[in-house]
């Protein structure tokens, strides 16, 4: 068991590092160009603001030379003179990231105006947790009970409706349903607000109420699309278990169907269910990037998309790091839980 946990942890750490390396490799070169342009712009604007510097030069060449040295100096201070793939720069970046020091965002700021990536991330994360984690919990509760219920009546009307609903809803993109919901319930019948961002400041006492009201439409949408496949999954696990010998034995000694399903069978279906729950809870932290874009929900997903469109490297790296960490932790927990419930996995043979 110890060896199992240790190999797992090493793999996870490796994955984390590889993810970061790939991210830096993908955005690094673009980012360097942007940063260098920024420096050139900064130097030039400082000089135009201060005409006395320009007057102190006799020729144009000398003046241009001065500007060039200024630019080069700053590039050197920031370490941009070496390419992004130099081991030194990557090493420094990775070391800082591991210590959760993501630096400052280039363009984006938090609502309070801080450009510290950590502030931005931890401002957006609770909102994503509020919407997506709530939705995931609701989905799993509905899913488990509906799944267990329809597995007790295989072939019945409810079973068929659940199964077909699961199949149909799985092929609709959530964000498209979101667009439809906005179209129907925000514009055609004006029940909910079309944008999910509350329009009053967070210090207002009515803020919570407003936030919940704005959250309703995305929440309904996500739950509506999500619970079908959960129910279907749980149903399939349960149907498999209901055919096992020990359940049939329990039936023959006269334990009621209801008791068998909700205590004995559900307990045995727990390992896969718990695994999936752990994975989907962590998946929910990323917030569906596209869903947040549709509903204009100010969480991690939208932050990520905004950061990529303006190529804000520190934010991209910070968010990727955070998402990957959560994802890996949950895979890890899921693995451990699975091993705990199902001892066959642990022996690894």
């Amino acid at each position: 068991m110890k060896k199992y946990v240790a190999t797992r942890i090493i793999t996870m750490f490796g994955v984390l590092m590889i993810t970061l390396l790939i991210t830096i490799a993908l955005v690094g070169s673009n980012m360097d160009t942007i940063l260098k342009q920024g420096i050139v712009f900064q130097v030039r604007s400082e000089i135009t603001e201060n005409p006395s510097i320009a007057e102190s030069f006799s020729s144009v060449e000398e003046f241009e030379g001065f500007i060039q040295t200024q630019i080069n100096q700053r590039i050197q201070i920031l370490g941009l003179d070496e390419p992004w793939y130099s081991p030194q720069r990557i090493g420094v970046t990775m070391y800082k990231i591991i210590l959760l020091d993501f630096g400052h965002a280039t363009f984006l700021t938090s609502d309070e105006g801080s450009s510290d990536v950590k502030d931005i991330l931890f401002e957006k994360l609770p909102r994503t947790v509020l919407l997506f984690t709530t939705a995931t919990i609701i989905i799993s509760i509905i899913g488990i009970f509906l799944g267990a219920f329809s597995s007790s009546k295989v072939g019945s009307g409810i079973d068929r409706i659940t199964s077909s609903f699961a199949i149909i809803s799985s092929s609709f993109p959530v964000w498209w349903i979101g667009m439809l919901m906005i179209f129907l319930f925000a514009f055609t019948w004006q029940v909910f607000p079309p944008r999910a961002t509350p329009d009053i400041p967070s210090s207002d006492p009515e803020y919570i109420g407003s936030l919940l009201y704005h959250m309703a439409l995305p929440l309904i949408t996500i739950v509506m699309i999500g619970f079908g496949s959960w129910a279907y999954l749980v149903r399939n696990f349960m149907v498999g278990i209901m055919q096992e010998d020990f359940i049939i034995a329990k039936k023959t000694i006269g334990i009621t169907q209801k008791k068998i399903i909700y205590t004995h069978a559900l307990k045995n279906a727990a390992p896969p269910i718990v695994t999936i729950l752990a994975l989907s809870l962590s998946g929910s932290l990323g917030g569906a990037i596209i869903t947040e874009a549709v509903f204009d929900w100010p969480g991690m997903g939208r932050l990520y998309f905004e950061a990529i469109t303006v190529m804000d490297l520190p934010v991209i790296i910070g968010a990727t790091y955070l998402l990957t960490v959560f994802f890996l932790i949950s895979i890890f927990i899921a693995d451990l839980l699975y091993g705990y419930f199902d001892p066959r996995v642990r022996t690894d043979n």
């Binding site: 991210t23 993109p173 990529i308 895979i331």
Partner: protein, 455 residues
């Protein structure tokens, strides 16, 4: 895993209603794709994002068929390009007359009218535009001379109903009408009843007369566009694009994306997993750790970064989607091949000294084929929706617009707020139907391979 003969699978599959439904939908989509590829040249389609290509179409027009359900019909956008051509020569003067018949049967005025033409002439011909209304009144709209030229020249022009000269000409004929013109636009007068300013239904004839002294004048590409609020089977969007074309061409694209991604990733995952499982020991360990790494990468964020930084070409995107698609299949096929390789005939083949590649391809892979087909079908919808999602974020390939991109445009132009359901509904429905076809087929296959679920 049980062994099922292909024949049996086919029989079972034909019994399943769901599978049949999936096949039927898929065939329909295939036919639609073929129609799209044959009927709409790809050059037209690649001009999707070029606004000048769509200038003849109306803005945000509702689909035409909506008129069937309405008692008060919405004016249709009409592009008339087959005029009645007459040629009259008397002495030196030659008259070329293009006549456009228009049946106007709506309770709303048209948006505008545009006459578009190219003319080949020499000298200084005179162009006269007039309209004969259902009540017999003939209105002179415009009299203009084409630019003088000594030699033979070609001149193209668009005459818009908003032109000042038309308004002026109409106000000279205001004795025909019993209401004040003031701020009314030309089309509101031309298509109006004489006593009140309400649309007059009936047959209109638009006359374009070209008077020339030289006998070699010619008008070609003569088109009269009467702007309406309904157009085509699927309507148009903010940029005047015919949504029917986008939706039709989206079908082969979606099928291509879905099938290419799922087939490639299933094949790659299958071979990878089987090889790892068959080899076992160190090879298996290393290959599975690599598999874990890919599995743990956050797919959508990476796809976004890749499409922003590397390329958003549709073919490159298919490759990126593959990179994240094969992982799960590799895991399952590995565990399946672990079971299969313990069977006697694999051992026998091994002892006979057959090559590993031969054993894998001849003895193990065929056993996994039913599973592979089911996985291909099941992973198609995910590929399609992921691509649609990326396009929806505005990261799609502009030369091959997909359904996701239509939805992206709908979102940016606020189609939901403006009630333009014909811009939002059809692309999503198409995505869902395509996904559904494959889910049906996949589930039907799955039920045959895992008979436990059937009960």
């Amino acid at each position: 895993m049980n062994n099922i003969a292909p024949q049996e699978i086919k029989q079972e599959f034909l019994k399943s209603k769901m599978g049949i439904a999936g096949i039927v939908i898929l065939l329909t989509l295939g036919i639609v794709s073929i129609i799209a590829i044959i009927a709409i040249p790809i050059e037209t389609f690649q001009e999707w994002n070029n606004p000048s290509n769509w200038i003849e179409n109306p803005k945000v027009a509702i689909p035409i068929w909506i008129n069937i359900f309405l008692s008060e019909k919405i004016p249709e956008h009409k592009i008339l390009n087959e005029p009645n051509i007459k040629k009259i020569t008397s002495e030196e003067i030659e008259l070329i007359s293009h006549q456009f018949g228009l049946n106007f049967d709506y309770v709303d005025f048209p948006n505008d009218f545009i006459y578009e033409f190219s003319s080949e002439y020499s000298g200084n011909p005179l162009l006269q535009m007039s309209v004969i209304r259902p009540d017999g009144v003939k209105l002179n709209l415009l009299t203009t001379a084409l630019p003088y030229s000594n030699e033979k020249t070609v001149h193209s022009e668009r005459i818009f109903s908003t032109e000042q000269a038309i308004k002026k000409n109409l106000s000279l004929q205001s004795e025909n009408f019993e209401f004040e013109f003031k701020r009314l636009s030309a089309e509101d007068i031309v298509f109006s009843k004489t006593h009140v300013n309400e649309p007059l239904k009936g047959d209109y004839i638009f006359l374009i007369d070209l008077y020339g002294i030289n006998s070699e004048n010619r008008i070609y590409e003569s088109k009269l566009i009467v702007g309406g609020k309904a157009f085509g089977i699927m309507g148009t969007d903010e940029l005047r694009r015919d949504l029917a074309i986008g939706l039709l061409w989206g079908t082969p694209l979606a099928l291509f994306i879905g099938l290419a991604v799922s087939i490639a990733s299933v094949v790659a995952g299958l071979l990878y997993g089987v090889y790892a499982g068959y080899k076992g020991k160190k090879t298996d360990e290393v290959m599975m750790r690599f598999n874990d790494v890919i599995y743990a990468l956050p797919a959508l964020p990476f796809l976004i970064i890749l499409s922003v930084t590397i390329s958003n070409s549709i073919f490159v995107m298919v490759g990126f989607l593959m990179v994240f698609g094969w992982v799960g299949i590799a895991k399952v096929s590995r565990s399946m091949s672990l079971q299969i390789k313990t069977r006697g005939y694999v051992d026998a083949a091994n002892m006979m000294g057959q090559k590993d590649s031969k054993i894998i391809l001849k003895h193990i892979v065929p056993q996994l084929l039913p599973y592979a087909f089911a996985s291909i079908a099941i992973s198609v919808p995910a590929a399609i929706t992921t691509e649609a999602g990326l396009s929806f974020l505005g990261l799609g390939d502009p030369t091959f617009p997909t359904w996701g991109q239509i939805l992206h445009d709908a979102n940016t132009f606020g189609a939901a707020a403006r009630g333009m359901w014909w811009w939002i509904m059809p692309p999503g429905v198409m995505i869902a139907i395509t996904g559904l076809a494959f889910v049906f087929i996949g589930n039907a296959l799955d039920a045959i391979i895992n008979p436990k679920l059937k009960r």
